[in-house]
Structures are given as structure tokens and as C-alpha cells.
């Protein structure tokens, strides 16, 4: 186990491994995405209250889940990078931030599209919308800090500190914005007891959630490969990788 971790953290080994893993993640992602969209758009019944427009949930809810999940991944790998100085964790944290920001933006945008027919407004200063918006600001702050510092390793460690500060703050921010009266429907999946969502709608939702997870795994590995090449551009193995003739 330990030797595997040590091997994993060596950039050339990870670069090869990620390259081999990407198709194994990308194809399931596509399969889950297609089946999720099929079940969501054709098989799932029309909602008796919300009509067809509830179907945006199949993108909106998984995107919102991903926005928090990726922040957790980013903050934890940032913490690992700070404590054990592991290059790979820095790379994962740096390549996760833009993906997380995109998912947060997607959740906000689909939420606005959903809110217009349902609540009659694009935007409401409701607790969960507001905390999602603040999460987007946190992501953008981390991306901005990452790009403002020229030395990549210093940049990663600085954004790791910010990410950890953010992770303490996310629950505080979330519960402080709950002080407003909420327009948003309460969570229907994580409720204790039976979920208040019908199985025919739950299945496509979960399929989409799994597809989004695979999508994240695929894209983060792709970004990490690029990031590694950029960071290690002066090393020998990258040189031989790009111009194999150097080796002979």
C-alpha cells in the first residue's frame, strides 16, 4: 500500500497511469450520461405540479452536489499537499478548482432557468442560492490566487491554505444565510426516512449524479496530465516524452 502511494506520487508514473485510466472513466461517463438523459427526458413521468420543467433537476441537482464534492476534494488534497508536500496532491487541487467553479456556475445557471417558470423569478435571495453563489466566489478567489503567484508550487500551497480556511467557513456561511426565509424546496433525497421523490425520478437523478462523478474523474485526470507536463517541463522524462529522438 505504502509503496503504491509512493509510486503514485511520482509524476511520470502518475502521468502514464492517468493516461491509461482516462478511457476507463470516460466511457462509463458517456454510458451513464446517455442512460440518465434517456430516463430523465423520456421515461420519467411528468410532474403533476411542475410539468416538464422539473426535468432540469437532472442537471441542476447533480451539478450542485458536484460543486460541494469537488470543493471537498480540492481542500483535502490541498491539505495533503501542505502536510506531506506531495506534488501530486498539489496538481489535483490546482486542476480541480476550475472544474468545481464550472459545476457551481452550472448549478446557478440551471437554477435560474428552473426558477423562472416555477417561482416566477430568475434569482431570489434564498439561503441555498446565496451560499452557492458565495461558493462560486470562493472558487474564483482560489483560481485568482493560483494564477497570481508565478511559482506553481508556492501558488498551490497558498491556495491550499485558502481552501482549508474556506472549508471551515462553508458551513458557517451556509447556516448564516439560512437566516433568511427560504423559497427553495427543502432537500428531498437526504431526508431521513423514505425519500419524498418517486423512484422513476430518483433513478435518472442518480444515473446523472454517477455520470457527473465519472465526468469529473475523467476531466481532472486530463487536466492533471497537462498540469504535470507544465510543471515538470524541465525534467528529463518530459523531454523524452515529447521528442523521443532525444533519448537515442
Amino acid at each position: 500500500m505504502w509503496t503504491f502511494l509512493q509510486q503514485l506520487s511520482s509524476p511520470p508514473y502518475f502521468y502514464q497511469l492517468a493516461g491509461r485510466l482516462i478511457p476507463w472513466l470516460a466511457w462509463p461517463c458517456l454510458a451513464f450520461l446517455i442512460s440518465g438523459l434517456y430516463y430523465g427526458l423520456w421515461v420519467a413521468p411528468i410532474d403533476y405540479q411542475q410539468g416538464h420543467s422539473y426535468r432540469i433537476m437532472f442537471v441542476h441537482v447533480p451539478a450542485a452536489w458536484m460543486s460541494l464534492f469537488i470543493y471537498m476534494v480540492m481542500a483535502i488534497s490541498g491539505g495533503i499537499a501542505l502536510i506531506w508536500h506531495m506534488k501530486l496532491a498539489e496538481v489535483i487541487a490546482a486542476s480541480s478548482a476550475p472544474i468545481g467553479a464550472s459545476f457551481t456556475f452550472l448549478a446557478l445557471a440551471t437554477g435560474a432557468l428552473w426558477g423562472k417558470p416555477m417561482w416566477g423569478t430568475w434569482w431570489a435571495w434564498d439561503a441555498r442560492l446565496t451560499s452557492e453563489l458565495i461558493l462560486l466566489f470562493l472558487y474564483l478567489g482560489i483560481i485568482a490566487l493560483n494564477s497570481a503567484i508565478e511559482d506553481k508550487r508556492t501558488a498551490s500551497r497558498a491556495s491550499a491554505v485558502l481552501g482549508l480556511v474556506g472549508i471551515i467557513n462553508i458551513p458557517i456561511i451556509h447556516y448564516s444565510v439560512i437566516w433568511w426565509n427560504s423559497l427553495h424546496q427543502p432537500p428531498s433525497i437526504t431526508k431521513f426516512g423514505a425519500p419524498s421523490i418517486h423512484l422513476s425520478m430518483l433513478i435518472p437523478l442518480l444515473l446523472m449524479a454517477v455520470a457527473f462523478k465519472f465526468y469529473y474523474a475523467t476531466v481532472v485526470l486530463m487536466r492533471a496530465r497537462c498540469e504535470i507536463l507544465e510543471r515538470e517541463r524541465n525534467s528529463h522524462w518530459v523531454g523524452t516524452l515529447i521528442t523521443p529522438s532525444q533519448n537515442s
Partner: protein, 225 residues
């Protein structure tokens, strides 16, 4: 006096003396605070009823922005002349020294805001019964602004466009303080209990007082490396 307190008090005294010698720099964020508040009646309306409603939010937003402006100077000059590196090299705990700097910064920038607040609340026609609450929230809240802001300053101190980046990093973290403090003042105008909000602010103050110096020290070591 215990030995570990001596460097702490020395640094506190040094920072306060330095600030006293450059009195103009202290005055600028305060002037900014007053002027931002003056802009709101001019921009919205001079109607007492309307101003009374927005007063808690306006005063608190102005306080956040003034804190951001003054934060930039927290480590800047020490970073530029190298004394910050010397502090990091001393055998004393860097977190303790940073706490001294943060406290000095709060005395320079936060305390005057609290003293000014009663006069500014008159400008915005805040009812008399809410003024003590406003002061209480400022007493509890402005130290958090300095403490949390210090982490952001430590991360951006070596950067060229640090100022604008600092606001991007720190403002989202200020949101809970703004919510609880402005809400407490709003509620106080209606003579409703405010204990809950004040407890939250006190809890946030305790949390940031205990954790922020360590996070700031870690961030400074990264910026200095």
C-alpha cells in the same frame, strides 16, 4: 511577567508607535468609512424612514470595506523592509507575534470605527434604541474582520496586484459577520431580543481568535519562501 509575553508586548508597542508616527495613514480608512456612509443618503434619498431601514447594512458594509482598505498595510511595510522574515526566523512562535500585529491593527483601524459609529448612526437616523446594539456588534465584529483578513493579507503580501485580489479572497469570508451583525441591529430597532446574533458573533470571534493566527503564520511562511 512570563517570558513568552515579552516579544508579544514589544511588537504590539512597536506597531502602535509606528502607527502613531504616521497618523495620516490611520485617518485615511476612517475618512473612507465616513465618506462611503455619506454617499448613501445622497445616492438613495434623504428620507429618514428609508435611511433608518438601510442604516445597519450601510454602516456594516462601509466597515467591511474600510477594514479591507486598512488591512493592506498590515504586513506590507514589514514585508518590504525584511523585518517580517526576521520575525519568522526568531525562536518565538510566529503565530503569537502575528496576533500582536493583528491586535495592534485592530486598535488602529477597528477601535476608531466603534468610536465614530454613534455619530454616523445619527447621520442615517438610526433609532436610539439600536445604537448600543450597533456598538456591541462592532465591538465583537471588527476584531473578526482584522483576524480573518490577516490570512488573506498573508497570502497576497508579496504580489503586485495584491489589493484587488485581497478583496476577492476575503469578502466572501466576511459574509457571516455582515449577516449576523446587520441583522442584530435591524432586530434591535424593533426592540426584539438580539442575544442569539450576539452569541454567534462571539462564537465567530472565539473561533477566529484561536485559529486565524496559525493560519496566518502558515500563509506567511508560504509567502516568504
Amino acid at each position: 511577567m512570563p517570558h513568552s509575553l515579552i516579544p508579544f508586548l514589544t511588537l504590539l508597542k512597536r506597531d502602535l508607535t509606528l502607527a502613531y508616527r504616521h497618523r495620516g495613514e490611520i485617518a485615511n480608512p476612517l475618512l473612507f468609512f465616513i465618506m462611503t456612509i455619506t454617499l448613501f443618503p445622497l445616492g438613495i434619498s434623504a428620507e429618514a424612514q428609508l435611511l433608518q431601514v438601510i442604516a445597519p447594512g450601510v454602516i456594516w458594509v462601509a466597515a467591511l470595506l474600510a477594514a479591507l482598505l486598512s488591512l493592506e498595510t498590515l504586513f506590507r511595510s514589514d514585508f518590504e523592509d525584511g523585518s517580517l522574515e526576521q520575525m519568522a526566523l526568531t525562536p518565538h512562535s510566529l503565530a503569537g507575534l502575528i496576533l500582536a500585529k493583528i491586535i495592534a491593527h485592530w486598535i488602529i483601524s477597528g477601535l476608531p470605527l466603534i468610536l465614530l459609529a454613534p455619530f454616523l448612526s445619527r447621520l442615517l437616523f438610526l433609532p436610539d434604541n439600536a445604537v448600543p446594539t450597533l456598538i456591541l456588534t462592532l465591538v465583537l465584529g471588527t476584531p473578526i474582520l482584522s483576524l480573518v483578513g490577516a490570512i488573506g493579507v498573508a497570502l497576497t503580501v508579496g504580489l503586485r496586484q495584491g489589493g484587488i485580489l485581497l478583496s476577492l479572497l476575503v469578502l466572501p469570508l466576511y459574509i457571516p459577520i455582515l449577516i449576523f451583525a446587520a441583522n442584530a441591529v435591524n432586530v434591535a430597532t424593533a426592540d426584539l431580543p438580539i442575544a442569539g446574533q450576539l452569541y454567534f458573533l462571539a462564537a465567530l470571534l472565539t473561533l477566529s481568535l484561536t485559529l486565524s493566527p496559525f493560519a496566518t503564520a502558515a500563509a506567511l511562511r508560504i509567502s516568504l519562501s
